[in-house]
Amino acid sequence: MRRTTAISFDEVRRRRGFQVLAILSLLIAAALIISVNTGYIRLTPLELLHTLLGRGTDKQELILFDFRLPRIVISILVGAGLAVSGAVMQGVFRNDLADPGILGINAGAGLMVMLLISFYPATTSAPVFMLPLVAFVGAACTAAMIYALAYKWHQGISPIRLLLTGVAVAAGMSAAMIVLTLRLDPDKYQFVATWLAGSIWGTRWKFVLSLLPWILILLPYVIYKARVMNVLNLGDQTATGLGAAVIKEQFRLLGAAVGLAAASVAVSGGIGFVGLIGPHLARRLVGPKHQLMLPASALLGSLLVLTADTIGRRILQPSEIPTGIVVAVIGAPYFLYLLARTRS
């Protein structure tokens, strides 16, 4: 009797989970249509359809295929990457407030990207594919550094020490970035400042191409590891008892999370809080099982960044607000709310 209720409860939850995923996908599609219509020059849905079918004017095709679509695709990829990265970090560290931004990993990636930009002429096309790679190196070094600094013999990693260490390292990184910014000439400065504020700046297809492989490989990999993450969530001892190679799995997952964050940061700058909000809302909507939670985080992250980007383009036309700022305005209060709610 008990067993059947348990199974049916699981079944209900799963069915609800798939409904949530479907609804989120629909919302993203809606946001996409609105986003295409938003901007200095508007395209009505009908014009959009025509242009997609190859019957639009040259101007419409230019706007759609060369500007709007790549940007939208990047928003979606970045959102998914950051949100899943946050979800994995929260799972691995078992800390609800973990997020690549708060842990300073975005700052590490950003610092490396900025070094590349300030020593490389921004106009040449060579760095574009190097960006995610360079960002990955920066992010991985930062992650290793934070891990080492927060690690204590016999005690391992305490969640709160991890966060404090991350906050401090991020402060150091941004101080270094400020030093670098001041040495730039005004033109490059404007670019870097916009980038730091978290702007989707790589609005061309080659940026999509540089980001896509990272997301396409790491996202499925993480979702494939969902069962392992469920086990890890039970605590180190229980997980070891259940036969999981805890340390090894943690490192693999963290590596994937760092890669996702780094590649996203490379094309989007410092968009914070997505990795925090995505997983939290996802957990609320579909429950803590990672099989559903990870895809839901990805969709929520995409939805958030896409919406924020659209809002940013909309509010102060013709100049635009960087997406990261819009996300921070939504995300920081949510973080504070979570902080006030969580029990010690």
Binding site: I160, T165, I178, L182, Y189, F273, I321, I325, V329
Partner: protein, 352 residues
């Protein structure tokens, strides 16, 4: 020794270990030695720079000023206000940090970490953008208001939390609020194209300190530090815990209000001059407590002197290490402050 540091840096519910020990001799030594070192530091700071100026010239520039001599002009208009500004903000941030750490019994308290600096910074960004011709006097007042708003939000969120106000929570709330406010400031800066001005100012723009700023700031800072010294006995009691303080017959609410006001004045006016410089208020009170013990009657004046000394030396380093490119003061202090913060975070035994 170790007991004293335990009393100083970890006063979190371990009252039975706390020994109220202070070292007046060490404190006197620090005050006298610190003031001498400060005077030397000021002299060196005034004479070194892109143009090295000999000390006798400095002397005559101060006491027999002749506007026709370029060196005199440089000293009067650039170097003196800069170094005096450094003295003032160093003392301000350090005393503000000492008061906060004492009152909240939070070893990680610092105006930079707790959203006060970024609150003041955001208020100023708004002023820069919307009221570009605002006189400095009003700018300072807006800065106070911003500092107060930042502190109120961080403190409010921290204390709303289930399980109460813990050091780590305050730091996290401060970090999130700082992220929000600096995002907003950046947005304003980008839109109104005041970015690089604001960035330089954020990074600790002590270089541009003007006499009139110092004149306006001085009475506030002076009065606030004096107030802090008057309040120091009560802060010592508060640092033992609210209940102890109340048991000793103190009106804790009143003291806290006065303390908070002093912190806002000190941090707010400093931010309005040099931008959001962090970590002074974290490092100096710890160092001072380590040296002079747990009596705030000694901690506060010693913090003021040591804070000034730190900023003067950091500024000197910022300008002389790489002479062509000035390193912002905030970056130099972060270089010292981040490892120190990491050390404190590691030492912290209690969990969230």
């Amino acid at each position: 020794m170790s007991q004293q540091t335990a009393a100083g840096t970890g006063p979190l519910g371990r009252q039975n270990e706390v020994k109220l020990r202070s070292r007046p001799w060490a404190a006197t030594l620090i005050l006298v030695g610190g003031l001498i070192a400060l005077a030397l530091g000021i002299a060196v700071s005034v004479s070194f720079g892109a143009a090295d100026i000999k000390l006798p010239v400095v002397w005559s520039a101060v006491f027999h000023f002749n506007p026709d001599i370029t060196d005199h002009q440089i000293i009067r208009e650039l170097r003196l206000p800069r170094v005096l500004g450094g003295v003032m903000i160093g003392a301000s941030f350090a005393v503000a940090g000492a008061i906060m750490q004492g009152m909240t019994r939070n070893p990680l308290a610092d105006s930079g970490l707790m959203g006060i600096n970024s609150g003041a910074g955001f208020a100023l960004a708004l002023c820069f953008a919307f009221m570009p011709n605002l006189p400095f006097m009003s700018l300072i007042l807006y800065s106070f208001a911003g500092a107060g708003a930042g502190a109120a939000i961080v403190y409010g969120v921290g204390s709303l939390a289930k399980g109460g106000l813990t050091p780590a929570r305050l730091v996290l709330a401060g970090a999130a609020l700082s992220a929000l406010l600096s995002a907003l400031s950046e947005g304003v800066a980008l839109y109104y194209k005041i970015g690089q001005d604001l960035a330089f100012w954020y990074a600790g723009g002590i270089a541009g300190t003007k006499w009139f700023q110092l004149k306006i700031m001085f009475p506030w800072v002076f009065a606030a530090i004096l107030g802090a010294i008057v309040l120091s006995r009560s802060i010592t009691m508060l640092s033992l815990g609210d209940e102890v303080a109340r048991g000793l017959g103190q009106r804790t609410g009143l003291v806290k209000l006065a303390g908070a006001l002093i912190v806002l004045i000190l941090a707010g006016s400093s931010v309005s001059v040099v931008g959001a410089v962090g970590f002074i208020g974290l490092i100096i009170p710890h160092l001072t407590r380590y040296l002079v013990g747990v009596d705030y009657r000694w901690i506060i004046p010693c913090s003021a002197v040591l804070g000034s000394l730190l900023v003067v030396l950091a500024d000197l380093a910022a300008r002389t290490v790489i002479p062509q490119h000035e390193t912002p003061l905030g970056a130099v202090l972060a270089l010292i402050g981040v490892p120190f913060f990491l050390y404190l975070a590691r030492k912290e035994r209690r969990e969230l």
